[in-house]
């Protein structure tokens, strides 16, 4: 997997550039003789396709030269792409934002902090009382300072 990283990431970029360029083709063009709104997107799309092409070619070349000393590079693989904690962290982030409109800032932040700090603390060190205290006190203090003290608007949620 790691060996092909350059080729894969270049491929993803190429795909993104192609889609971007494709959507760019649908932007209406005005024939007033000057540059229209579709010009820059198309130009960016083409340049990115070229650059990602170069990255893929460089990746393939590096692969060929490295093949001789294969085996050594494989041991360096320490972080795999999909780490369970990372996936859960992303889910927490998405849930947090999704809950903002429903529960409002205060409650969602307390829940988010409870989940995230628990996830980030090593199993042996988890101290429930401490985590709950940190989450609640921090959320309330932030809410009071920004919503009440500074008068900023924070998500109210359905139950306010």
């Amino acid at each position: 997997m790691r060996k092909y990283k350059e080729i894969i990431s270049g491929g993803v970029m190429l795909l993104f550039a192609a889609v971007y360029f494709g959507i760019g083709m649908t932007i209406p063009e005005f024939n007033d003789g000057f540059i229209s709104s579709d010009f820059m997107p198309k130009l960016y799309g083409i340049i990115l396709m070229l650059l990602s092409g170069i990255q893929i070619i460089m990746g393939v070349r590096a692969l060929k030269t490295n093949q001789a000393e294969d085996g050594k590079t494989e041991t360096q693989e320490n972080t795999s792409f999909i780490v369970p904690e990372v996936v859960v962290a992303f889910i927490f982030l998405i849930l947090y934002v999704a809950l903002l409109n429903v529960l409002g800032f205060l409650l969602s932040t307390i829940l988010f902090l409870l989940g995230m700090v628990t996830l980030f603390t090593q199993k042996g060190e988890r101290n429930v009382v401490k985590i709950v205290l940190i989450s609640v006190i921090f959320s309330v203090v932030v809410y009071l300072i920004f919503a009440k003290g500074f008068g900023l608007t924070l998500p109210e949620g359905l139950i306010g």
Binding site: T79, F105, L119, V142
Partner: protein
């Protein structure tokens, strides 16, 4: 004349209420600047109603204190958390964080604070002494000149991505692409909005910035939890900071760099629309290019912090130059200042010196006092700021993210922006995994719209004649500079490769 100067100065310096408001403004500004997503602009907008109750001089002094404190405050999170608090301190991360990792967080903060102060003061000197000359240059900038200067600034991407040129260019281009989302300049054609009205105004720079930097730090924490090798900075950090943490000798060695960075900051400040999001990166790359030891940049050398922090604060008086002399606000922050002045019956423009001379001198005094207050507040706060590192990362990061949400929501008061924050966080995570540098993306994003707008304007001004980019002298000079910047950078990369091989 003399009486105006005296009246103006005394309305700030001899007015305890005013000094009290300014101290409050500086503290709030620093807090807003240091929290990712909250900015000086937001703090100023919040305090506009307060200025109604104050005199013109007091009101404007409070806003300036917020502006200066907010611009400098960004360095705290950039150094301690590796998350730039505002777009003005992106380049501060590049050397500030490595210094913090070496245990020199206090020193890094001290350097940033002192040179923020120096940048403001040098900018103030330019404002007081040569603002008519500078503003007469600024009005010579038409679309051709703007286009040329953005092209020149974009060539900096090459310097920012010296590790891997192709990847740097790719992320720079991604930044330009994300900038095309929303209604197009000039004809307002909807692009890449997929029919979603929330996307019409495009992405906010703060959302892109905080998403890419803050979320990737949080995910980085998740990875370190998995692998079990947590970085604990509280072990290495020297919490006993003496003074500002650096020696007189180090200070003297940075003077030339600070002057250069101030000049860059002022120059970008007087050009409407560019401002301190770009000036810190420009100053950093120029410092790196001209340095005798460019390889030390990015490993934690104070030169980088000096360049970034001096430039972003020098930009503030720079922005005020066209505001006062021409009545042109360069960015949203300057527009707030303009609004506050107009509300008090003061019209900025060429006549302000005759009609409201007192206010002009009050503004000069307020900038000086704010700079001093910022220096004092941050000096006494320094020991406390460093203590943030005593909070273990696994607790600190979730807390920081909750603050980012406050900021993201605050930009437009909609949850949509919080979602966009996570979207950019995901993009940032993927880019980091693929070893792509992140700062070119921000630079591309900041400059993308200005470049396209002025390119299209220029073409229609000159009736489709592309040669006019070279017949306008300033534009021609910047395009030639851009060309040289590319050639010189490519040469140094080639040389480095040759040395390595």
């Amino acid at each position: 004349m003399t009486s105006m100067i005296l009246e103006g100065f005394s309305s700030i310096l001899l007015n305890p209420t005013c000094l009290l408001w300014m101290t409050l403004g500086t503290v709030v500004g620093i807090i807003f600047g240091s929290i990712p997503g909250l900015t000086a602009t937001m703090a100023m907008a919040m305090f506009i109603p307060v200025t109604y109750a104050l005199s013109a001089e007091e009101g404007i002094a409070l806003l300036l204190a917020l502006y200066i404190g907010g611009t400098s405050g960004g360095l705290i999170s950039a150094i301690l958390l590796n998350i730039p608090g505002t777009p003005a301190s992106i380049a501060t991360c590049m050397d500030g964080r490595p210094m913090a990792e070496k245990g020199q967080a206090g020193k890094a903060l001290g350097v940033g604070i002192v040179f923020s102060f120096i940048g403001t003061i040098v900018g103030l000197a330019a404002l007081v002494l040569i603002s008519p000359t500078l503003s007469s240059i600024a009005i010579k900038f038409g679309p051709h000149e703007y286009f040329a200067i953005t092209v020149f600034s974009l060539t900096l991407i090459i310097t920012l991505s010296s590790e891997n040129l192709v990847k740097g260019l790719i992320t720079g281009l991604l930044g330009l692409m994300f900038a095309t989302v929303g209604l197009a300049p000039i004809d307002s054609t909807a692009r890449y909005t997929f029919g979603n009205v929330s996307l019409n105004s495009g992405f906010n720079i703060l959302i892109v910035l905080v998403g890419i930097y803050a979320v990737s730090e949080i995910i980085g924490t998740a990875e370190s939890v998995h692998s079990g090798n947590r970085k604990d900075l509280s072990v290495v950090t020297d919490f006993k900071v003496k003074g500002f943490g650096f020696t007189m000798k180090e200070f003297v060695s940075q003077i030339w760099g600070a002057i250069r960075a101030s000049a860059i900051g002022i120059a970008l400040g007087i050009l409407p629309g560019i401002g301190n999001g770009t000036s810190n990166m420009l100053a950093y790359t120029v410092a790196k290019n001209q340095s005798k030891h460019p390889e030390k940049f990015g490993t934690g050398c104070i030169d980088g912090i000096v360049a970034s922090e001096t430039a972003n604060n020098a930009t503030i008086p720079g922005t005020i130059i066209p505001l006062l002399t021409l009545g042109i606000p360069g960015d949203s922050t300057a527009a707030l200042l303009l609004g506050a002045l107009v509300m008090k019956g003061i019209t900025p423009g060429p006549l302000i010196f005759q009609q409201n001379g007192k206010v002009v001198y009050a503004i000069y005094a307020a900038i000086g006092v704010s700079a001093l207050l910022m220096l004092l507040v941050e000096f006494f706060g320094l020991k406390w700021f460093v203590k943030i590192l005593k909070v273990p990362t696994h607790i600190l990061m979730p807390l920081v993210f909750a603050l980012c949400i406050v900021g993201a929501f605050g930009t437009n008061n909609r949850v949509f922006d919080c979602g966009a924050l996570i979207f950019f966080g995901f993009i940032g995570y993927l880019l980091k995994k693929g070893d792509y540098p992140l700062s070119p993306l921000i630079l591309g994003f900041v400059l993308g719209e200005i470049m396209e707008l002025n390119f299209r304007r220029a073409i229609s001004y000159s009736n489709g004649n592309y040669l006019e980019f070279f017949t306008h002298p300033i534009s021609c000079v910047f395009l030639i500079l851009a060309f040289f910047s590319i050639v010189m950078n490519l040469r140094s990369i080639y040389k480095k490769k040759k040395q390595a091989a």
